[in-house]
């Protein structure tokens, strides 16, 4: 089977020290990377995501799950090892950062859509679908500052999930809006998961993981502790981190 994402021996550390001088030195490579001065987020992680599978990633807060997704999306370049992807990745995370207060809903569709890497033609063709899904109706040509926070979240989800990428990376975007919309956005993401060939999902919702994931990886302190059957991995998670 082909791999959609190959993560080979990836390590990533974040600088702790924020001094200008030491920052310049380390950028120029004149300073040895010492472990005390940086925070190691990922330690030699190797992970292959097969084409067509739904892979879940679980772990405590700060274990490196989100960082790993961001490495796969190209946001962070690994300090060691390499990452390769087959096709366009799309990271669903913090769906409201691409939106702007002063623009109308329609303008925000173009703005956020283009930030996500879609073309104008794509966004024009998805417009009706986004209007319909986000349930914003008459507000759609009003500036975003007149929207309620639920409406903003709905618009964000509607845009972010409108276009199917080859590889979908999801970082805890469920759970916005009122219960009805939450259920609707869950359904939307589930149908996106079903129609997208490859999905990597970070979530704390273990019930959802058991339901939709083919495999689950448990990340602990920047390393992959185990990977395999969802139920097994979730059991290991509780063994390592303590019971609920």
């Amino acid at each position: 089977m082909n791999n959609a994402v190959e993560i080979n021996d990836v390590a990533l550390h974040f600088p702790k020290e924020r001094g200008l001088f030491s920052g310049i030195l380390s950028l120029l490579g004149w300073k040895k990377k010492s472990t005390e001065k940086s925070y190691i987020a990922l330690k030699n992680i190797s992970l292959n995501v097969h084409q067509g599978e739904v892979l879940g990633i679980i772990g405590r807060n700060g274990s490196g799950k989100s960082t790993l997704l961001r490495v796969a999306a190209g946001i962070y370049q690994p300090d060691q090892g390499n990452v390769k992807v087959r096709g366009q990745t799309s990271l669903l995370a913090g769906v409201r950062v691409g939106l702007n207060e002063h623009l109308t809903g329609r303008e925000n569709v173009h703005l956020y859509g283009s930030i996500l890497g879609h073309s104008q033609e794509t966004m024009d063709s998805m417009m009706d679908d986004i209007i319909q899904f986000s349930e914003i109706e008459e507000f759609f040509d009003q500036p975003l500052r007149t929207y309620s926070s639920g409406m903003r979240a709905r618009l964000g989800i509607a845009i972010a999930s409108a276009v199917e990428p080859e590889i979908l990376l999801i970082d805890e975007v469920l759970g916005v809006g009122d219960p009805q919309f939450r259920e609707k956005s869950k359904q939307r993401i589930l149908s996106l998961v079903k129609s997208t060939s490859t999905v990597v999902l970070v979530s704390h919702s273990f019930a959802l993981m058991r339901e939709i994931c083919d495999r689950v990886a448990f990340i602990h302190e920047g390393k992959i502790h185990c990977i395999g059957d969802p139920t097994e991995s979730i059991r290991t998670y509780y063994e390592i981190t303590g019971k609920e």
Partner: protein, 283 residues
């Protein structure tokens, strides 16, 4: 299906010499995104003001009145064309200063976006400058009533002097801004330093004074020193384009300014592209 797609690195690193090419490819391929970000910047700047877009005219006009008064107090009665010269100086310098600051702070300002989506980050350094360019071009229309009042008619040279002057100040701002934007991501001291440089640069650039005033008083090395400032030529070009008078800056100095701006742009892009991926971790 996606079986036929190759395995590629999502954000491959760029060699120090590969930056400019990648930059211009991005400018072409991501024009839709750049346009949307520039529109966002323009709209959000004036959307909560009643006078709104009128501020693009009002700001340089009001500033010019203040400088005109200040100059009259300090140096006596100025030249008849001085109001036109001062407002052009204010607009071109303002364009450069605001573009530079926007470009320097681009990575830090866009950090929420950078951490959520990958897209070529040079877009963040360029799009606010494009927005500023549109605003500055509109501001420049404020000179028309002054020209009518002073009865100044531009000569044919307006068609190359104004575009060249604005172009040089724009690429200079982008170049210097991109050169230091990665440093600013490490420490925001850089941003404060550039705020100071823009304020101090106002005095050593021909904003309140003109190149002719400098060449009347200084000569030889002193004048050469004044001309080391790469903003002297752009501001003077726009002024000459408007008042139609002869350009007295020597040709080699103009060549120096053009070379300076283009080199700054190329070096800035190369440094930015080379370090961009590494400094994202500091955000």
């Amino acid at each position: 299906m996606s079986d036929d797609l190759p395995l590629v690195e999502p954000n491959p690193s760029v060699s120090i010499f590969g930056g400019p090419r990648r930059f211009f490819e991005t400018m072409y391929n991501d024009a839709y995104l750049i346009r949307n970000l520039a529109r966002r910047d323009i709209k959000s700047r004036y959307s909560r003001a009643i006078i709104g877009f009128g501020w693009t005219f009002l700001e340089p006009l009001l500033l010019s009145i203040v400088y005109y008064a200040l100059f009259t107090i300090l140096a006596g009665r100025p030249d008849q064309l001085y109001p036109l010269h001062v407002i052009t100086g204010v607009i071109v310098w303002g364009h450069f200063g605001k573009s530079l600051q926007a470009s320097v702070g681009s990575l830090t300002k866009g950090k929420n976006l950078i951490k959520q989506v990958y897209f070529p980050r040079e877009i963040l350094a360029v799009s606010p400058v494009i927005a500023q360019f549109c605003i500055s071009c509109t501001s420049l229309l404020a000179v028309i009533p002054i020209m009518i009042y002073l009865d100044v008619k531009p000569e044919w040279q307006i068609i190359w002097m104004i575009p060249l002057g604005l172009f040089l100040s724009t690429i200079l701002a982008i170049g210097v801004g991109m050169l230091v934007a990665p440093l600013n991501a490490i420490s925001q001291d850089v941003q404060h330093l550039f705020k100071f440089i823009v304020r101090a640069g106002f005095f050593i650039s021909p904003v309140m004074w003109t190149y002719e005033m400098a060449s009347d008083r200084a000569s030889g090395e002193w004048l050469d020193l004044v001309l080391l400032n790469p903003m002297v030529v752009p501001i003077t070009l726009v002024r000459k384009g408007l008042d139609g008078s002869e350009l007295t800056i020597p040709g080699n100095q103009i060549g120096y300014s053009i070379t300076f701006a283009i080199s700054a742009l190329i070096i800035g892009i190369s440094i930015f592209k080379y370090y961009e991926a590494r400094v994202v971790k500091y955000l």
